[in-house]
């Protein structure tokens, strides 16, 4: 069953073009030249109940604009959308009782007050029954393990603690869809993992549909089973994360700090990216060589002081997708056609 259907959704922003310099400013004052920027260009998709969707794309691709239209914050210029059977921008208030949103960069907690006070306020705004609220809060406090700092002012919390409270706050009213805009931004690896676990738990235990944007390949990989790539306002990939992964996440980089001088390394599927003194960076094609075998070989040949294994950044995965789509306006490529390429 579709929980979100979007049909030809378009958003056009009008901006005033200005030539550089003071003269340009004067000219734009008397003779403004308007230009239309199509932030979202007629996108169409649907999401089923209980899906975990990663909505990815570079900065300015139209991700936030799309989310804001789905939440009802922005009016579209054209097209339709149905979220839980409602048109967001027309039934914004009714819809807000059933969806939750977490914007990594915009807090909904009171900075100078403890999270418990913010939770209370939100409970009032959502008009929750006092008893049901207390029960729900106890449940969330347990899942998110926020008990120890429930009464500490938010300004004294670490980013990770704050983010957990932030997500808990958006779940008080038991939303059926959760929109997350970069929930792991700025978090350390351990906390990132914890947040991912929690989001996964929500999806599996409570059946909450997850709509997530992130620049973190890890978020997409661990959390989602479906990915949608958007750029220049158009959907250019819509398919399984596994297909995306197999097609594009084929390489990993290994950064090494050696205890002995570099003498070269011959291994099928491994290429040298950079080498300076005792620092070495290798690229491993995981289709050809497993990380395990490469590591074993490396350890047998060198003394290793430090080691890092990374996925290529999301940005470079997307860049690869662009290389395969000749025009940014070409229709969405399905997972299957990408896989055969």
């Amino acid at each position: 069953m579709s929980i979100i259907t979007v049909n030809n959704l378009t958003k056009v922003f009008t901006t005033v073009e200005k030539q550089p310099g003071f003269r340009g400013s004067l000219r734009s004052l008397f003779k403004p030249q308007h230009s239309q920027v199509e932030a979202v260009k007629g996108i169409t998709f649907s999401i089923a109940d209980g899906e975990r969707l990663a909505f990815i794309g570079p900065n300015g691709a139209g991700k936030s604009t799309t989310i804001k239209m789905l939440v009802g914050i922005l009016y579209p210029s054209q097209g339709q959308a149905q979220v839980l059977g409602k048109t967001p921008w027309q039934e914004r208030q009714a819809l807000s009782y059933q969806i939750g949103s977490v914007f990594g960069q915009k807090s909904q907690l009171w900075y100078h007050l403890p999270p418990a006070d913010s939770f209370d306020l939100l409970a009032h705004i959502y008009e929750l029954e006092p008893f049901a609220y207390r029960e729900r809060l106890a449940e969330l406090v347990e899942i998110f393990e926020v008990e120890p700092y429930l009464n500490t002012p938010v300004r004294k919390l670490s980013l990770g603690q704050r983010m957990r409270c932030e997500i808990a706050a958006s779940l008080l009213h038991r939303p059926r869809i959760l929109f997350l805009d970069e929930p792991t931004i700025g978090l350390d690896v351990v906390v990132k993992q914890r947040i991912r676990d929690l989001i996964l738990h929500l999806n599996q235990e409570e059946g909450v549909t997850i709509f997530l944007t992130s620049h973190d390949a890890g978020d997409v990989e661990v959390l989602c089973h479906r990915a949608m790539v958007i750029n220049y306002g158009a959907v250019i990939y819509d398919g399984g994360v596994n297909d995306l992964k197999h097609t594009y996440l084929r390489t990993k980089t290994i950064s090494l700090k050696l205890g002995t001088p570099w003498r070269g390394f011959e291994f099928a599927g491994v290429s040298l990216l950079k080498q300076k003194g005792y620092g070495v960076k290798l690229e491993v094609d995981t289709d050809v060589a497993s990380i395990e075998s490469v590591m074993a070989q490396l350890l047998s040949q060198y003394t290793i002081v430090d080691i890092n294994i990374d996925n290529p950044p999301m940005e470079s995965i997307i860049a690869q997708i662009y290389e395969r789509t000749p025009e940014s306006r070409s229709p969405a490529v399905s997972a299957s056609s990408l896989a055969v390429e």
Partner: protein
């Protein structure tokens, strides 16, 4: 309506709790603002030492105006602390937060900040009214009601000019200048201005409705005029709200938080 009232009270409580996290700063700001207001009023006492009346207004009239405006302004910025920040919130894209929640976005936006110094204005207005004017306590309910009306004029007018941002894109300066002009002009008796300016202060910037008209009503009560004023305020609030809600269709949100003017 009942929902909005509950929201207002909830936020009043939370804003106070948040402000009281820094008790000393809280007290200093309130006392500082009261002293500031005393200085302003002091200049008028000097003036009225030299001449008895100014176009029919004496010291008592001016004190009444100050009491009403200070109290009304205090109510506006304490309860509806974002009154003077509407344009800024819209232009920065901070409406997102209010639009994502089920509460009424305009009320929610207005109440979600509290000016602490505003408590100073509020107390100052109440105090000089009770202390400086003879038999003032007898009209206290009327004073409170008129103060509330004048506060609502502040709120509605600022929502009105703040909503210009929806159409003009960058109107924070314009709207804050208009908002401040309302405050500045409201503190002078309307009759000291020449005819054209006076008309402007009734029509363009409703300063007369904030200070002089309620002050006159307090000094010389007239049921019909009170009714007129009340209806005017209700209509103004309604129009402001209508304009804001209409503007929401044009809201552009944005991540332009750090853009420089």
């Amino acid at each position: 309506m009942a929902k909005s009232l509950r929201l207002i009270l909830m936020y009043l409580r939370h804003n106070l709790m948040s402000a009281l996290a820094y008790r000393v700063a809280f007290m200093i700001q309130i006392v500082g603002m009261m002293l500031n207001n005393v200085m302003l009023l002091f200049f008028w006492t000097v003036l009225f030492n030299r001449l008895p009346t100014l176009n029919g207004w004496g010291l008592e009239g001016v004190i009444t105006i100050y009491a009403i405006v200070a109290f009304g302004y205090g109510v506006a910025v304490v309860v509806f602390g974002n009154t003077f920040h509407v344009a800024e919130v819209i232009a920065k894209g901070d409406l997102d937060y209010y639009l994502a929640l089920p509460a009424d976005p305009l009320t929610h936006l207005l109440v979600s900040r509290m000016s602490i110094a505003g408590w100073g204005d509020l107390f100052f207005g109440l105090l000089i009214y009770c202390i400086a004017l003879p038999a003032a306590w007898r009209h206290l309910p009327l004073f409170l009601f008129l103060g509330l009306l004048s506060g609502l004029v502040f709120v509605a007018f600022n929502v009105l000019v703040g909503s210009l941002v929806f159409w003009l894109g960058q109107a924070q300066n314009l709207s804050s200048q208009l908002g401040n002009a309302l405050l500045t002009f409201s503190l002078y008796p309307i009759d000291i201005f020449p005819g054209v300016v006076r008309v402007l202060l009734y029509v363009l910037i409703p300063a007369a409705f904030v200070g002089s008209i309620p002050a006159k009503l307090l000094m010389e009560f007239n049921t019909f005029q009170l009714l007129e004023l009340t209806i005017f305020v209700i209509v103004l609030c309604y129009v402001a709200r209508l304009l804001f809600m209409f503007g929401l269709r044009r809201y552009e949100s944005g991540n332009l938080v750090t853009a420089r003017g």
